[in-house]
Assembly symmetry: C2
Amino acid sequence: MADRTIAVIGGTGDQGFGLVLRWAKAGEHVIIGSRQQQKAEDAAKKANSILGGAFTVSGMENPKAAAAADVIVMSVPFAAHVDMIKSVHDSIKPDDVFIDVVVPLSTAVGGPASTALAVWEGSAAQQAARLLPSHTKIASAFHNVVAEALQRIDREVNSDVIVCSDSQEVRKVGMELAAKIPGVRAVDGGRLENSRIVEQVTALLIGINIRYKVSDAGIRITGLPTTG
Amino acid sequence: MADRTIAVIGGTGDQGFGLVLRWAKAGEHVIIGSRQQQKAEDAAKKANSILGGAFTVSGMENPKAAAAADVIVMSVPFAAHVDMIKSVHDSIKPDDVFIDVVVPLSTAVGGPASTALAVWEGSAAQQAARLLPSHTKIASAFHNVVAEALQRIDREVNSDVIVCSDSQEVRKVGMELAAKIPGVRAVDGGRLENSRIVEQVTALLIGINIRYKVSDAGIRITGLPTTG
C-alpha cells in the first residue's frame, strides 16, 4: 500500500495535527483537511517545516481531501462531528477506509472533558456508520492517545491504540496505521460497537490527567501475547 | 487499621475468592460471606488450606458477615446484585466502607460476557449507592482484575485497579486494599459515577481475552508519576 493517501479531516486541530506528523514521518502520504483551504495549506506548511522538508504534507478543503484519499480519518470535536461527516459524505469511494477518532466529550455541550455524552447510536463511531454511505468501511481508533504525546515527534507514545471495526480487513488497516506510531501497540478491539467503551475511556483518562497533574495518561492492555 | 475486618459478599465465587486469598495473605482479617452458612464455611476452610494454615479466614451468612465487618466488598454476578444489596442493607454501620466489584455483564440476561448492560443509575456501583442506606460510604474497584490472576497467589497481578468514590477518604481505603495485592497499582478513578466507564472496560477486556486466546488481560494507565 505504498501509494496509500491518508486525509485527516480536522487535521488542523491538536490531535489531528499530531496524527498527521506521525504518519508523514512514517512515510505515508498525508493530506490535512480543513473547512478552509487556506487554513489547511498553512497547517501543511507548518507540518512540513516541523518534519524538516523531506516530507510532503498537503492541505485541502475537507471534501477534496476526502476525495483524494484512500483512508479518511475523522478527527474533529464532537460538536462538529455530524456536520463534518455530511461534508465528506459524497467524497467517500467504495474502497475507502474511514477511521473515526472522535470522542463524545461533554465539552460539546459546555460540560467537563472528564465526562462524556451518551450518543443515541452508542458511540461517535456508530453515529458515523449510520450517517455515511452504507458501503463505507469504518473503523474507530486513536481515542486514547493525546495530542501532546502525538506532537512530540522525537518521543515514543506510551499507549496502546484499541481499534474497533465490524470488518477484520478494515480493523487491520487501522492497526497498521497505529503501529506506524513509535511506542504504540495496536490492540484488536473487536466490533465497532465496542467503540462505545473505548471512546468513554478517554473521558476517564482526562480525569486522571487532572487528578494526577499530568498531561498524557494513556492505557496499556496487559496479559497479551508478546507478539500481539 | 490493624483490626479492620473485611467481608467479601459472594466470597465463594471465583473473583471474590481470589480477593479473599490475596487479602488474607496480606494479613487482613477476612470473612467469606455466602447465602448459606455451610458454603461460606467450606470456602473458608479451602482458603485456609490454600494459604497454609497461618491465616484465619472465616465464613458466615452474608448479613452476619457484613455486620461483623468494617469493609464490605460486594462480589456477586450482576443478576444477584440487587438481592445481595438488600440482604446486607440492615447490616451496614455508619462507619463501614462498602466496595462494589460488580460489573453489569450481559450474561445477567443470557447475553455474552464481552458486552455489558446499561444500568439505569449509570453503573452497578451507582445502583448500590441508590439502594444502600444514605450514610453508606461507597467505593467501586477491582472490576478489571480477573479471578484467575487473583487466585494464582504465588504470582503478581499485572493490572492497575481503578478506584472510584465520591469520598476521598473512602477512595483511599479502596486504594490501600488494592495496593495489598502484589503487582497491582491503585489508580484514583475520581467520582463514583466514573465507575460506569471502569465497569464497562471489563466487557472490553473479556472480548480481548477471547480474541487473543488469553485469560487474564488487564489494564495499566500510562503517563502517571512513578510515585502515583
